[in-house]
Symmetry: C2
Subunit: 459 residues, 2 copies
Amino acid sequence: MEKRSALDQAFEQRWKTLLGEWIEFLKFPSISAQPSYDSECSRCAAWLVQWLKGNGFHAWLEPTRSKPLVRAHRDGLPGAPHVLYYGHYDVQPVDPVDAWTTPPFDPVYRNDRLYARGAEDNKGQIWFTLQAMATLIAMGNPMPPIDILLEGEEECGSAGITEWLQAHAGDIRSDILLVTDTNTVPDGRPTLVMGLRGIIHATAVLQGPAYDLHSGVHGGVAPNPATGLARLLTSLHDAQGRIAVEGFHDGILPLSPAEKAETARARFDPEQYRHATGVPPCAGDPDRTPIERAGFLPSIDINGIHAGYSGSGIKTIIPATATVKLTARLAAGQDPDHCLDCLCRHLERQVPKGLTLAITERGIGGKGFRLAPDTPLVQQTLMVLEKLQEGEPARLWEGASIPVVSALQSASGADPVLVGFGDEADRIHAPDESFSREQMRRGFVFAGLWLDAMTRGGQ
Amino acid sequence: MEKRSALDQAFEQRWKTLLGEWIEFLKFPSISAQPSYDSECSRCAAWLVQWLKGNGFHAWLEPTRSKPLVRAHRDGLPGAPHVLYYGHYDVQPVDPVDAWTTPPFDPVYRNDRLYARGAEDNKGQIWFTLQAMATLIAMGNPMPPIDILLEGEEECGSAGITEWLQAHAGDIRSDILLVTDTNTVPDGRPTLVMGLRGIIHATAVLQGPAYDLHSGVHGGVAPNPATGLARLLTSLHDAQGRIAVEGFHDGILPLSPAEKAETARARFDPEQYRHATGVPPCAGDPDRTPIERAGFLPSIDINGIHAGYSGSGIKTIIPATATVKLTARLAAGQDPDHCLDCLCRHLERQVPKGLTLAITERGIGGKGFRLAPDTPLVQQTLMVLEKLQEGEPARLWEGASIPVVSALQSASGADPVLVGFGDEADRIHAPDESFSREQMRRGFVFAGLWLDAMTRGGQ
């Protein structure tokens, strides 16, 4: 508890400085998706380099084909595990800007929350981590060797860092990959993300007639691409909702007994789910729980389907084409290349008669992964979360994907640790994004305790 | 042959007058869909009334809730069948106006064709009929009793006449309904339309989540309305393409032996169809020929299907809703109300779990009908077409619908006769619409011979 109180105290002492610097950091409109903000992204990155240099790191900008990477290094205790910290300094666009109470890049602190674009995602969550590192360094605390990698286009696809990683894997070899870009569970208990799903995508166009045909003259004679697409997409699942694509399930890691026990204990209330989303949790394999389906199984989802007329009244056509946009989430163990092949081959094999299929887009986001529940790293991290004394630490198997995490994991060879203190109230990506002093404090204490534990764990 | 030569001769004598008056008729921009042309529609209708009055008819304007009807009457030979002639004086919009070689309402006669909006549809095809009537009257030919009904909004839904018919069915009781608003078969032989399909429509929305959900967090847990809609629409047909909606086939009139024989003789070349449309004629019941499927069987077609994201790249959502627009073509004997009920009930019964269905639009265009091939009226009309000496008359079971025809048929009690001389080269609804002197001559001779045959047939 000594370290815990020291960190609590340090946070209180540092708060004014931390808040002032956080506001400076948030004032950069580092919107990565909009090229007119490119120079603001570069200015923000340069500011981070200066800050890191002033706080005990060797730091520099690393160009990519798009936004620069912020890189930093600090040697640490020999024998301690090498930590790679990843985050992103870019932010989402601010539209609709009229819906903001105060301007998105003019941070305002009210009711113990700081309001600004990026206040949480990911500048706020970066900030407690870097401030905790700076505090430990200033306190003369022993530290593990640390590399820092902050990218500038996570919000628009991470293209630059992904390409950079292919050529520079050797530069970031490390033991542990720390990411603080996630949420706690809904009841707010400290949360360790135990896995993320992978993601692949495809866009398919079913071509029928050379032009929209008159449905009276041709109805019942010409094949209809919209009807054909409905049949094609129906074939992706069986009548119970299980994926029916041959070979797609290859390699899926089954739940270990520990995972099985853990998910069985997790709370999931179908009525609460329905209340929150408007639908019951009834998709996917009916023999598995919703927590298992989201965290441990793949899913194939239609993100969009379009053909023909959408206005009011009637337009009597057989549309010339029908298009679908699909993504699939992949469980740990599935090979994205293989899954994308299986999916595309399935679509090609099932093309309804008279129509032709073109797959116009296809791509891989990243692999899924799961942490083994009983590794020393997981156990140590859970012990740190326990020390926050904010309820029993939760383990969360995330259904979502952070594709760059699996790319970083492959490139660095490190085991990931994903802990974040975001929650729904922060409204990330939306107007009036914010992050509270309390969340900042929790993150700061966690990061400090965790770095300390890693140092000692490696001794 | 005496009557035939007399009509040929009369056409040549009358041609200059006919052409001059046709041009006057075409100069009215009677575009019904665009309210700014309402007064032009009224002026056109008034001009027709004057012309009919000057050519042997009692004629007047009849108001409806929108465009006025042109009505005319002439007593005829007692005992001869009472003929009701229907046509429409309104025309399609002219966009894209830049694509016209000469202005659409400044008719130009070149290479034996008259170019203008409405040159064929329906002003040209009205014109040979009315001119033939006027010629016979001027020649002192005995005539059947004739009523004329020319509406002004066929191109935008026939709402006015449809409402008017409900209150005035008694005013137009007659024996035969003549319509000259159709085409000849592709090889140009004189053609009698033996049937039209009916039409119903529905728009259905499948509601899922309260808002677009993150497909990573919710994929495999939340039901996806686009996936659900694909399954729902697939259930409308069996694996071979036959309609699988319970009760939908009730009442369909089977092909009579004469119809069976006639359609078996009709020419249909699958390769030519594929060349023209881009698809093989492979939809519908595989045990029936394409001609049977389009003319004698119903079809259910998706005219549009829309859900979620349609742009480039990926958007990882489970869309909140999915929408489909459907029309069904109905065979003769099917009750549109019953079919629409069956279709909607089918959709409601098959709603995938977790989703809700709303049918947001539903409506009935009109019933289908077929003429018995061996009635005296059909035989007489075919004999008249034979007298044109332009190849063996063709019988055409149209897959399309002209909803007002079934409404007129019910209101008047008359048997329909649909003969027209349009063909694809006329480019109706498109820029540079035209109708040739030769088509006008054929129509004029047909109308004269047919009216004469009806008079004699009724004696």
